[in-house]
Every structure is written in structure tokens, then in C-alpha cells.
Symmetry: C4
Subunit: 356 residues, 4 copies
């Protein structure tokens, strides 16, 4: 599409085509949206330091995450309700992701089945899990994901309660009728009759808001696929994760949607990177909009980044093709950043490429 | 009320329903209002540091202040003329405060009697005192408060002269006819005939602008209830307060209404917290608008916070019910902040929950 | 006048009543006016630290400068062409200054005679001197000032060339016909026929742009009244001034009118205060608009401040009475600041009254 | 021209007279233009520190660069396509440059011949070189430049790929038909038939994007004129340049046109100045718009500065005469800055003239 040259073009277009309450549900954040805004701004404050005359010919974006080779150090963040953005839904996202040969993390609240998404994915997806009060359903979800070939469980740990998102409240936002939470139904979850129209109430009441590290052990006892923790911030929690031999951690402030005035992922990464054992792979989340953002996150120690909202804007604008555009923009932009920095491979990116 | 989800919604609504000069009397500050604005901004710059997987179920907001158990670490700041905001006046505020089981500080310039306010208060209120040139009236006010059960005297020490509040001057603001300063009358205070219409002149001429530490000793000699000092900033004054075994200090810049370009209470707290004896309880004042603001003040060492203007906005919007809404918003928001931070009790809140 | 409660009110009013090119001549600065703006902003960033319960009754604003007692630590900055602001001219300013019992510095380019200004001044004024290429005229000016009782020569040292003031150039600003430079005429200065309409050209060509420290010695040889240097910034120049036993220095960036992107006087003061010998009295200039500004300058080590543009706004608004208003506003505001800070005398003001 | 008193006046005028896509091609930068904006802003944050009473009479702007005496420490930056700005093209720029007796750097993509430009230049120009995949053409260009008297080769090393300039893409900018790349044609370059309308594609495909330090050695083997490297940022690359006895380096971020969020040249200079061997002359590039900017760059260690876009605005506004105006504005402004700082010769400018 003409003049769709950067992520913000898709954001603007998505805002035009999506109903206001849907756009604001996807784009909004908690509280005054201070953290939401800082997520993007932080990257502009990190300055690059390039090398010259390195004779960089080909850029190689391959990397490995949890032992899986991917062609791009960008992973699709878990997000609920892709069908709200476009009828292609999660399948559209999965197909575009496959064209770039990277990983999609499928949300507990996906609107298409885990199996259908897996079946069209080139690289096995990961499954993002919320633990329900009903552990039988939780276990069923894990079993389903493992059975059809998902290769990791991404447990979101920063949602003991649903963040206060003003726009959702003011818009009286709730799920469109007809939107089906396929996985929950398959897992035997009985939707309360008034579910549509009372989403947040039910979400809060059905999810287990009091999970602990013991639940991580329980999860391990019921599945063999690795567990990734999403949303750790404090040094002491990183140390517990290390002790428990957690394979990977996603540093995230939940896209600024949970607790306002927390630091950006970049700040959390910088504070903790030195003592995190190299055995834990670090993925970073929040505010990635440009190739140079990815480059900077990697330079600071992340193994890969998650991209969230931009995927939904691509989907909203043009379904699968739109997601493909988004991923390609990020890919070319990362390649150009690397070429201009004098860096040819992902594993060469380090903090020497940052100024000061 | 629909869409009244945060304090700022009440502020906006109050601005609509109150006469301009009343709204600006309540909302305005001294000078260029630099300190007034910074009071709120400072909180957004303090970043939270949360823990995960703590299994927080119930949040307990109970705390103890001057030996009194309260259900919420939020106290009603002393403010003059509640009836200017709403006919419910101080009684409305007191009833709402009682529903949340916390403490109200009643102003010397309340528009309803100390006795009537005390009689409907679940937790004994505190009495905010200005010292008059006429010590007999001052003594009478103290006696009245003590007699009807007030449990502390809050002496305001930052008003040797009335701050320059431009909006009051430009609006030619003065007290509405019919507004009765109940306590002063009861105490035998003879209102000059031109009192209405010359408030600031009379306030300046009637209050004692030259009080000293010796007056604290005098107060102690006439009452047995504890004395709290409101408005101390300098380290040397904290040390004098400590020597005099003052029970509690309210760190405050008088809501930015007295001297412009003084620091925020948060900055004063941070500078002085380390050497203040634990025997002095610290309460903090100014700019509290969100649950996370309360949480941050407590994390930095405050035992409780005062909330002022928001109470008046609640009162203006809906009388007693509006105040109740305000307090409930702060309460739920504090609970949510604690849950998201992985902290279940007020006495667990400490600076480890702040980032860096 | 109603609602004329602070300096900015007079600035706004003056902008209404003065011709655009006159207002911009007075208000404008060099280059992008970066220094001009920072002159005012710097004060808002300095935070006050007040004491309480000091029992301050009377505020005493008396101070001594060069051995002269004045009632207010505010001196009138030397400014050209008071008659451009109002027909009262320098005489209006001098009368108002006398009512407050402080010192006026009369410009070389005053539009009324040195003698007439002196004759109505309660406190002997100072004479601001530019050195002309024609030393005879320069000497004559000095002799005239000394003869009629001026008590100091203020030599401006920061104008080896006239600063680039865009607004003057764009307005094609030049002196109104009929405006008479009384002192220059009295001193025997022959105005070129095309003087009106070519001010800056003539100023540049008539003033000596290459004066050196040797000229200070020459000045000393022709007059017994003390010499004050206005516009020193560098440590090495302060040291030379000290060696030469200069009595006082005015730290100034010429109101932001000469060289853009120099520091504010406050920054220069802070950098140099520690090594300046106490024998040199420091006066500070630029951006003083509030009582707290004066207080902060004194707290950082200045003996007095100059006030410039506000005087012209007072003059423009209401002649002598307007200047009196301006000085009174500053006086009351300083008194209130001192009372609120717990400080009763000018010589008690020190850096303990600043926060951090 | 009336009211054309600073560079920004020419920028505004140029924006009026040039076609939008041409103005934006010249003025635009890479990405979000963060670096582009900071290039100018950085200078306003550097504060000057002036001396007084130095008796500065004449200002001498002479300096020497690569052994060549020039009358002004300002060199014309290499820029493509001067004829897009004005029919006078590079010849207009060269004539104006000659009037000020300084050096012009002629771009590989100049629209007039190297020979014609050289023939009217008072001081021998330098030739900016891109290395083509076709080394024969590259060699031919170098030979041509050397043969007709160019005195240095400026090799641009920061363009392994063309930066993403949104405005060019959105404007679908491409070269006007009729614009002739004289040097390339002379060198035997065969323009592809679809060259017009596919500039960036062809530029990328024809230039050698993979040059290395070995190419520097190759260049040396084919020419005797000194090689200057333009666009080095990293300390290690400065050290290599030192080892290779490179005569001069131009610190530059390519006018913010290549990689967004890199530091300004001033920051790179400050970081590296201390260890760069005095044998390498440092020239600085980017954001120079005022005499004080030049002064600050020199104070921080640069031997001269390049000026780019302002030259094109001068050219657009009034051809050769406009360029002359631009250079004269910078010259007078630098002279005034030096006079006001108390500094008479270019080689006296040092960091003592900066505040703190």
C-alpha cells in the first residue's frame, strides 16, 4: 500500500477502520498511560554508535530461542481477540508469521482454535496461559496446547488483577456478540449466560488471582514443554526464576496496561541484566516500533523482542497481508540499522553499538 | 455516577457546578502555582517496582496513627468552609469519612460546630488550630475540641502570613454572606461588622502571625491531647520537634497555597526521613490523587497521607455521597496497586517497591 | 490599579500602550533570546527552604551598599531613554525610587540631565558610563556626574560591540525625533546630523569598542568616586577586579541583550561566589520579577539586585506612580517571602534558606 | 534583502520558492528526524564564557586546513544537485565561496563539471567521493579531480546503504528530468535508461555498499592527494584512521539523513577529542546555523566546520548572491561572537570560552 512505510502509518489507518471502542481497547493503557507513552519514548533516548568500512554485505537475522532457529529476532506477542481486529483473526497472524519464519505466541483468549493455528504455523507456536480458578480447565488447556505441538507455555505473571484502563470503562467496552473464545470452549469452560457484556467482571472472577511460585511447580508436573514467565520486574523474582531453572523470561510491563508508572522494559533490562544467569534467555516487550528499537533491545542483552499492537494494526488494515507488511517493515528496518551500524549478524549486536 | 472513575473527573465536574470564584479559591495556589503543579507531577516520576506470584488474596488497609486504628491510611486534610462546596458541609464529609473508618481533621474555620461533627464521627476527629492574637479565644477553641472528644490538635505552622493567591485577588473573592464560622462564634469571637467582604484583611489581623516554639509549650500547658505540627520543612525544625517529643508531623506545603517554589512534600520527606526519629509519625500532604500516590508516599516512609481538594470536589459534586465516592476510588485504587505490586498489608509497603 | 498585582500585569499593559517597536526595543534580547528567557526561568528552579515558628514580627529590608544605607536591596538598573516609555522619563523613575529610599543608576543615554535627576533623588544616584572614543567627552561626563553628587561610576564592560537584536532590526527601530540625549549634549557631544534614524551605526562608531583594564586605571586617575564593573563573567576577570580593588561588581548578561547562550547571572554567581573576596560587593542583574527572586539572589551571595525592564513597564503604564507600584510590589513580595521563610533581616538571608 | 538577517530567514524563503519535494529532499532527515532536530538544538545547550576589557580591535578569521590558508573556518559541505536549488548550481556556490576565500567540497553528484567549478575557485576545492561498484569509473573520477587541481578527496564512509527518508518516499521524490550528473557522464558512467525516476534504486545498486579499510589503501595507491574520511563515530575507527595516518576526519551524522538516533557531531567530538592525535585535523558537520555555533565547535576542538543546507537555502533564494549572503551572515556573526567573547584570532578559541 502506498505511503504505508512505517508502523505509525498502520496505527493511523487502523484507528480509521476499527470501531472506536475496539481501537481504544487495543491501544489503551492503565491509568494516565504514563508507562504506555514511555514505552515508546525510551528508545529514542538511546543513541546508536556505528562502525564504518566494515564491508557488510549480507545481513543475517537468524537467531535461536529455546533451541528453535528463527529467521527474525521478533516474536508475536500474545494478544487476545485477533478477530476483533479482522476476520482473518489469529490464522491471519499465524500465516504472516510463518512467511517470516518466526514464532507466534497464542493467547489463552484467542478467537480461533489452538489446533487450527498450529496446523498452519511453519515454526511451532507458543501458548500464553492464564491460570483459571478451575485447575481442571487450566490443565485441559495445557494438555491441548502440548498435544497439538505448542513448544512453550508463556505464563503471564503480572495480572493478579485486571489493570484500570479508563478508555475501556468510559467506552463501556465489552466483547462483541459472536466472538467465540474457541480454546476455552474446547477445554470445557462453561461461559456464564451474561458473559457478553460483563467481560471484565467474569475475567476477574474466573481467573485465579492468587497464583504463586508453587503453581509453577504444579504446571511443571503436568507438562513437559518449557515454561516462560512473562512480566517479572524485581531482582529477587529473577533470582527465584533462576533457581527454578526457568528457561526464559519475558521482561514486560504488559504494554502499559496493568500498573501505571512502572519502568519500561528497557530500564528493567538494564537494571537486571548483569546478574541474570546466561542460562535464562531474556525476551523484551513493549514499545518496539522500529528496526532500531529491536537493535537497541538486543544490544542491551535481549535475545529477541515481542511485538504486539503493531501486529493488530496490520491485521486491522489488511488481514494477513497487513501483518506481513508490518513484519517486513520491521525486518527491513532492522537490516538497514545493522548495515548502517556495521554489524552483520544478530549475535554480534552488543552494547558497543550504543553511544556512551 | 457514570464515568466518574477518577479524581480528575470530580475536579472537572466541580468546576462546572461551583461558582468560578469558589472553585478557584479551593483549587488555586500561591504565586505562579509552580509548587501547586509539582505537587501532583512528582508522583508520576516515582517508578514502582512490583513483585510477582506472591499469592495475594486479601488486601488489608488497616493502619494505626497516634495509637488509633483506622481502616485506610488516608486522612481528611483540614480545609476551611466545606459549606462553600455543598450544603452538607463538614457533616457530609464527616459521615463519608466514618463510612470508611478513618480520621477527619476539622478546620478552625469549619462552617459547622465541632460538636456536631464529632457526634457523627465513627473515629474521633482531630482539630486543626490557628492561634489567634486573642489567646483567650484560642484557649476556648482548644477546650471545646478537647471537651467534645477530639483526639489531636493539628497546629498549622506555615502561615505567619497569608500566601499571595492571585486568583483570589483577581476574583475579589470573599466569603458568601450567610456562611457562619460556627466555632469562632461559639468560642466568643466577635466578628467585626465588615467581616464579610474583608476576610483576608481580618484573618491577617486576628491571627497571631508571630507564634514561636514557646507557644507549643503554652498549648501543652492547657491541653492533654497530643499536638501535631503541620508544615515543617527544615531539618533543624524537625530536630526541635523531636526534642519536644512532638508525636506527629504533617509534611506539607499547604497545598501550594502559601509560598511558591518550595519543594514538594515528597522531596522534603526524602531529604529528612533518615534522621527523623521513628518516634515521630510522619504524615504527608499535597498532590495525592491516585492509589499509587498513596502507595509511593508510604513506601518513602509516611505513616498516612492527607487528602484535601479531592474531598471538596466530591462534596461539590454530590455532598456526602460524593466524598464517599472519592474515598472509595482512592481505596480501590490503593488496593489494586498493592495487589499488582504483590503487597498485602500497609505495614509491608517499603522502598523496595520503588524502582531504583 | 485594579488587578495590577504582579510584574507581568504591568508587562502586558505596557505592551498595549507602547508602540510595538518601543516595547520590543525594551523587551527584546540578542539572537534567539535563549538567555533572555532563561534569565527568568532559572529562579523557578531554585527551591526555597523555610523555617517555622520563628516569631517574625517586623521585616527589616535595610541594607548597605558601598557604605550607603538603602531601605530595599533593589537598585534601578541603568537603562537608556526612559522618555520613550513615558514623558515622566528618568525624573519619574527617580522620584519613585526616592520614595522607596534606594539607588537609581542613571544611564549615559538618559533623556533628562544628570543634574535634574540628582536634584530630586533622596539617595545619591550612580552614573552608568560608556567610554567614548572621544576621551574628552568621556571625562566631561564623569566630571559632570561627580560634580553634581553621583556616588559611583558603573562601567559597562560587556559591550565591545552592540548585540544582534533581531526585533530592533526587523522593526527598523530608531530613536524618535525629539528625544534628546541631555547628558551627551551637555558634555559637548556633537550629534551627527543623521543621528536620528541611524542610532546603532552611530553608537557603534562613537563608543570605544576596544577598552581595556588600562582604561579602568585612567578612569581612576580622573575621578575619586568608586568604580563598579558591570558584566564580568569569567573567574580570571573577577580576579583582576579583585587585584585592582574594585569595590563592587554587577553580575549581568545585559538582560540577554548582548550575547545569546551565555549563562544566567545566577549561574555565574554560583560558579564564582566562593573565591570572590568579600571585599568586592556583588550585585546581580537579570530576570528579577518576584520577591522570591530577590530573596534567592541574596541567599546565593548577592548584596543587592538590579531591576530593569519592570521599571520601564511601570513607567509606561503610569509614569512615576507606575514605577512606585512596581517597587512596592517587589518590596511587599520580598517581605512576605521573608516572613514565610522565617527570616527577618536582609543580612540573615543565606543559602540555608535554599532547598538542597 | 530586507529582513533576511539570519539563516532561518533563508530557510523560510527557500521553502516558499522551492517545489515541496525539492525542499523536503534537501531539508529532510532519516526516520523520525530526531537526530536532525538535535543537530541544531545541541548548540543552544552549550553556554559561552566571555572575557571582558580585552581591547579586541580587529578580528582575524584566518585559519589553515591541510596546510591551506582560508579566510573563514567554514567550508562548504558536499551536497548533491545544486542545480535543483537554483540554475546557478555549483558554479554559483563556488563563486560565492571564492569571495570569502574558503573551500568548497564538490559532491560526486554535482550538476556541473569538476573542471568548471575548479576553474572559478579562488581556493582549490576538495572532491567528495562515493566508491562505485565499477572501480574503473571510481578511478576515473579520482583522476579527473586530481588532474584539474582538487586538493583533497573526501570519502563518505557512513552510507553503506541509503537512509530511510520518509519525506522522499512520501513525495515519491526523484530527480528532475534534465538534471545532468556531469562528472559521472564525463567519467564514462552509462546512465541506465530508467535512471530518472529510479534514483534511489540505482544509487544503491551502483554504489559499492561494502567498502572497507582496504579500499582506503587502494585509493591511496591511485592518487597522491590526501584522503579525508567523513562520518566516523566510534573510537576504534578513529584509532584505525590514526594508524593509517589519515590527514583529516569530518565528524558528521550526514545531516541526520542516514541513521536516526545517532549522537550529534558535538557529542562525538566531545567523547573522542582527547585521544585523537593532533596530527589528524578534525572538521565538524551538522546543525551549524549561527556564528556562536561555529565558535563552540572550534572551542571544543574542531579546526573548521562544514555548512550544508544553509548554502542551498542561499542558492535557492538568490543564486550566487544568496550563498554570499549566507556566508557573510555566518562570518559577521562569528566576528561579533568573538568580539563579545574577548577573542581575536581563530587559534585562540578554546574551551575556556565555554561555561563549565
Amino acid at each position: 500500500m502506498k505511503n504505508m512505510i512505517k508502523i505509525a502509518d498502520f496505527t493511523d489507518y487502523a484507528q480509521e477502520v476499527l470501531p472506536k471502542e475496539v481501537f481504544e481497547y487495543f491501544s489503551g493503557g492503565a491509568g494516565e498511560e504514563i508507562t504506555l507513552r514511555e514505552n515508546e519514548k525510551i528508545y529514542d533516548q538511546i543513541k546508536l554508535n556505528y562502525r564504518v568500512l566494515k564491508g557488510i554485505d549480507e545481513i543475517d537475522l537468524n537467531t535461536t530461542i529455546l533451541g528453535q532457529k528463527i529467521d527474525l529476532p521478533v516474536i508475536i506477542a500474545p494478544m487476545a481477540f485477533h478477530k476483533l481486529a479482522h476476520p482473518d483473526g489469529e490464522l491471519g497472524t499465524a500465516r504472516a508469521t510463518s512467511l517470516l519464519s518466526t514464532i507466534m505466541i497464542v493467547s489463552t483468549f484467542s478467537t480461533q482454535t489452538l489446533e487450527s493455528i498450529k496446523s498452519i504455523s511453519k515454526i511451532p507456536p507458543w501458548f500464553q496461559l492464564y491460570i483459571f480458578q478451575d485447575r481442571a480447565i487450566t490443565k485441559e488447556l495445557v494438555m491441548m496446547a502440548e498435544a497439538c505441538g505448542y513448544k512453550a507455555l508463556v505464563l503471564t505473571v503480572d495480572t493478579p488483577v485486571y489493570g484500570t484502563r479508563e478508555k475501556e470503562i468510559r467506552n463501556n467496552f465489552d466483547l462483541a456478540e459472536g466472538l467465540i473464545l474457541e480454546n476455552l470452549i474446547t477445554a470445557g469452560f462453561k461461559l456464564p449466560k451474561d458473559f457478553i457484556g460483563n467481560k471484565s467482571k467474569h475475567f476477574s472472577s474466573l481467573l485465579d488471582n492468587n497464583i504463586t511460585w508453587a503453581d509453577i511447580e504444579w504446571l511443571r508436573s503436568i507438562t513437559k514443554i518449557p515454561i516462560i514467565l512473562k512480566g517479572i520486574m524485581d531482582k529477587r523474582d529473577f533470582l527465584i526464576a533462576k533457581e527454578l531453572s526457568i528457561a526464559a523470561v519475558i521482561i514486560s510491563n504488559h504494554g502499559g496496561r496493568q500498573l501505571d508508572t512502572v519502568p519500561t522494559s528497557i530500564e528493567i533490562l538494564q537494571k537486571n541484566i548483569d546478574f541474570i544467569d546466561k542460562s535464562i534467555e531474556i525476551i523484551i516487550d513493549g514499545g518496539i516500533r522500529k528496526g532500531s528499537d529491536i537493535f537497541k533491545a538486543l544490544a542491551l542483552g535481549a535475545k529477541a523482542v515481542l511485538v504486539g499492537r503493531p501486529i493488530l494494526w496490520g491485521l486491522a488494515v489488511n488481514g494477513e497481508a497487513g501483518v506481513y507488511n508490518i513484519l517486513n517493515i520491521l525486518k527491513s528496518d532492522l537490516e538497514k540499522t545493522m548495515k548502517l551500524c556495521g554489524c552483520s549478524r544478530v549475535d554480534e549486536i552488543n552494547k558497543e553499538f550504543l553511544f556512551r
